[in-house]
């Protein structure tokens, strides 16, 4: 792929992307005053953030973290414990949740030495270990298998706007990463680690950075989610389905593209809503069918396939 020239197409792409982010910001910010469906928009923003965060490590660096939910779960628990046990303000708890997520990612960083399916299996196992560990900890801290009931901490809108802030940060990070030297290094690692190394890319440091960024956004999302819903328990906080949905949304749009996770999530969350309303019993069946069909027929996702079929599209989208 040729380096984008300065000015020209890159300026157009950037204009379109920042315009889109601005539109999302205004649209989502207008939902509470307009009396829109807060929960629906909150979950939409949450999934876009998760899918965008996953894209850093899965799309740019090529590692599929099947235990991505571990960071989300640790984020929800950090908020829960900070507010309920330590008595901290929730506004302090969410950044702490992000920090704890990054620490956990540092702890798991040696797994990045593994590749392909070994990485996926170990990542999944670590998420399960986290879940069991949380339910083993003393009940005064984590609430055991019942979890923690936070109740209403602030008015709901505050949690909602914090999620919006995290979402915008994630989207801006994505476009920054795609254009940065680091992002190009990551893509080089994904396509051929040995060649990247030979060309002078610091492989361990680059992928560690992507890994920490991915974990940070998952943990922040979890932290805000606990605030917004006011309740958490080990079963739902560490549900494998959360990883699965995140991966699917990101893949549906196109891993490795900036726009992909956003488009994929918006389309599939909308489809999911339709399915829920029309066929509540077969919800998971159709979800499974969509996953299988996506992987068999559009493995590069909506945006990725568009870019492959119509290369001119690259001029307008990232």
């Amino acid at each position: 792929m040729a380096r984008p020239r300065l000015g020209g197409p890159d300026a157009v792409r950037r204009l379109i992307w920042y315009g889109l982010v601005g539109l999302i910001l205004v649209w989502c910010a207008a939902v509470p005053p307009a009396g829109g469906n807060l929960s629906l928009y909150f979950s939409l923003m949450m999934w876009v953030t998760l899918a965008t965060g996953l894209n850093f490590i899965a799309g740019f660096a090529g590692y599929m973290p099947f235990g991505y939910v571990a960071f989300y779960g640790i984020g929800t628990y950090t908020t829960g414990i900070a507010v309920k046990v330590l008595g901290l303000s929730v506004y302090a708890a969410v950044p702490i949740a992000g920090g704890v997520g990054v620490l956990l990612a540092l702890l798991f960083a040696p797994t990045l030495r593994l590749s392909g399916i070994y990485f996926a299996i170990v990542s999944l196992s670590l998420a399960i270990i986290c879940q069991r560990l949380v339910s083993l900890l003393p009940e005064e801290i984590t609430g055991g298998s019942l979890g923690i009931n936070l109740g209403v901490i602030t008015i709901r809108e505050h949690g909602y706007y914090t999620m919006l802030l995290v979402l915008v940060l994630a989207l801006l990070t994505a476009s920054w990463l795609a254009r940065s030297r680091l992002g190009k290094a990551l893509k080089a690692i994904r396509d051929d680690p040995e060649a990247a190394e030979a060309m002078g890319v610091n492989v361990p440091r680059s992928r560690l950075f992507a890994w920490l960024l991915s974990a940070l956004f998952a943990a922040l999302t979890g932290g805000v989610q606990a605030w917004f819903t006011g309740a958490l328990d080990p079963q739902t906080a560490f549900d494998v389905l959360i990883t699965a949905k995140t991966v699917i949304y990101a893949m549906a749009g196109g891993l490795g593209t900036v726009l992909g996770p956003l488009i994929g999530t918006v389309v599939l969350v909308w489809v999911d809503e339709l399915i829920w309303r029309s066929f509540p019993v077969l919800n998971n069946f159709l979800l499974g069918l969509i996953i299988a069909a996506l992987i068999l027929f559009v493995p590069r996702g909506i945006v990725g396939s568009l870019m492959q079929r119509y290369p001119r599209v690259r001029r307008y989208i990232m």
Binding site: M64, F66, P110, L114, G116, I117, Y118, A120, I121, V122, L124, S125, L126, I128, I129, R132, L133, S135, L136, V240, A244, V247, I248, M251, V281, L282, N283, N284, F285, L287, G288, L289, I290, I291, A292, I295, L296, F297, P299, R300
Partner: protein, 306 residues
């Protein structure tokens, strides 16, 4: 700790271990020949359990007689599933990771179909032998002077153990002594070379998929003898145990999985006796992570040939 509990733990470990060995072996056939990771393997096993349940409840058939029927039905299903899913998958950029996701989708479909058909309750499989339990031997003064402890095993579990041993012997014979079995092992060792000597890799892979599905279905039937109930949501646990077993035994190494399965069964059952439940469950995953880090070829694995 008294000896009766320990002996019961050991016996349970062997019975469960043999089941895990079978799960690992069938998962490893898929993993070795097709280079795919079957996330839906546990659901195949649960489907086998429901097969036994339906046969028993609606036709009054002893699950043991349904074994060959189950094997045939699951073989055909697996054979068909191969042609439906896998040839398309091979065209993707990263077949291994994609297969993980694809089979996750299949597993979601299977779970919700089973819940739709059988509802989300745990179904009992009321099938018993006469006598229900066998007293193997008596430990004198196990609970203090004059209070003997008896080591009791459900007859069904002993039957399951015997069937399992027979299936494992048959499978090993197939893999080492028959031509298709040798072709499968050859494909595990080197998929390209096998094609050069003129073996139709698609047909062989379809056979391997069918064989793995048949083994999984049979495992499900046998499982109803070990634990006489089926939970449509229980598949994920079997899948994860299967992952642990194949990683322990070496990815794509069917016989290594047998030893690893028995080992894992023993560890699990003994830690159930000795540790709190959540800790016992965690142990398996910790072993898995440790093995991948320190001995990625598996405990019994040869060097991975790709």
């Amino acid at each position: 700790m008294n000896s009766v509990l320990l002996i019961n733990g050991l016996l349970g470990g062997i019975v469960f271990g043999m089941v895990y060995a079978l799960i690992g072996a069938s998962l490893n056939v898929l993993c070795g020949v097709l280079r795919i990771i079957n996330f839906a393997h546990g659901e195949f096993i649960i489907a086998g359990g429901f097969f036994a349940y339906v046969m028993l409840t609606f036709l009054g058939l002893n699950p043991l007689y349904t074994l060959p029927v189950a094997a045939a039905a699951f073989f055909v299903a697996g054979y068909g599933l191969y042609y439906l899913l896998i040839p398309r998958l091979a065209r993707s950029d990263e077949p291994e990771t994609s297969s993980f996701l694809l089979m996750f989708g299949v597993s979601l479909m299977l779970v919700s179909s089973m819940i739709w058909i059988f509802e989300a309750d745990v179904r009992p499989v009321n099938f018993s032998f006469d006598p229900i339990n066998l007293v193997l031997f008596t430990v004198e003064d196990a609970y203090g002077p004059g209070r003997d402890g008896r080591v009791i095993v459900p007859t069904a579990r002993l039957v399951a153990l015997a069937i399992n041993a027979a299936i494992i012997i048959a499978m090993t014979w197939f893999l080492y002594r028959t031509l298709p079995g040798k072709a499968m092992r050859a494909a595990i060792m080197n998929r390209e070379a096998v094609q050069i000597v003129g073996i139709d890799i698609h047909r062989l892979s379809a056979w391997a998929f069918g064989l793995a599905a048949a083994l999984a279905g049979v495992t499900g039937v046998v499982m109803t003898l070990v634990v006489p109930s089926i939970d449509p949501n229980g598949g994920a646990d079997f899948t994860l145990i299967g992952f642990i077993v194949i990683v322990l035994g070496g990815l794509g190494h069917p016989v290594g999985a047998l030893a690893a399965g028995v080992l894992f069964g023993l560890v699990e059952q003994m830690s159930n006796v000795l540790l709190p439940q959540a800790a016992a469950q965690m142990l398996g995953f910790m072993i898995l992570v440790a093995v991948i880090f320190f001995k990625p070829a598996g405990l019994f694995g040869l060097e991975r040939s790709r």
